[in-house]
Subunit: 153 residues, 2 copies
């Protein structure tokens, strides 16, 4: 059926269709647009669960951004219904925020586990996963899960 062309060193034998390619890039742009939100809700949920509260300063320090940046992003989270907060009180997730945090954390862990299973060193896996996680679709997550199950037993 597919007669493999000889491998070229510098370019694909054929490009995908324009629409197909545009769609792929569009999907990646959409995923990127939610990445920051996902990281914040996951972190806030972690902080609240382990320490009882999530202060803007702590959030900023853990993300490695200026506190003013964190505060502005938190304002967007509130605007979009993921969090609530009152002046000088910590930030808390809404039901919608907790739901997102839960999914995001599960996905993050699964990505890390797949990476380490493939032989990626723990710390590298954690670092790479911080970016990779946002682009892993449900179908890929399912495949990851099945792969780990297959391996475990």
């Amino acid at each position: 059926m597919d007669d493999e062309d000889p491998i070229r060193l510098s370019a694909p034998a054929e490009l995908p269709g324009e629409d197909t390619q545009a769609h792929r890039f569009g999907r990646a742009r959409e995923a990127q647009a939610t990445a920051v939100t996902e990281d914040y809700v996951e972190l806030i949920d972690d902080l609240v669960t382990t320490g009882g509260e999530a202060r803007p300063t702590d959030i900023a320090r853990r993300l490695g951004v200026a506190h003013a940046t964190a505060i502005k992003t938190i304002a967007r989270l509130k605007r979009d219904g993921f969090a609530v907060s009152r002046p000088y009180r910590g930030v808390f997730l809404t039901e919608q925020g907790r739901e997102l945090a839960c999914r995001v954390r599960a996905r993050h862990r699964l990505v890390v586990e797949v990476l380490t299973t493939l032989g990626v060193p723990e710390e590298v896996a954690e670092a790479d996963a911080e970016g990779i996680e946002h682009f892993v679709s449900p179908a890929t997550l399912a495949a990851f899960s099945a792969f780990l199950d297959r391996r475990d037993r």
Copy 2:
């Protein structure tokens, strides 16, 4: 050795150190910052190789963005030494651009191959890889390569 805590449903037993976590997020932000550049040079190289030239309009259509957006991004590529172009002529990569395109393409392919090997459907793998690729470090790439070698034989 590592006495596993009982799995918690909603939060990690312990958070990573602040500095560690900040460093991971910072790495992801850096990778993100180069993602658009990487996609453009890979695409331009593909277009030039398969069609002899890369016109702004074609680039825009394949990326799914307005032509004005592509033109502005191309200006950045030129500013940063990855491409050259003269008015109304196609865009061409510099040596630096080709070098980047080559690395980026190899990485893209390796990511897709690993995903499909793990059981991710071809088209999903291509779509997810478009985002994932930008966050895969050299160490992870090496692990991916080793994994595929192991499997192939």
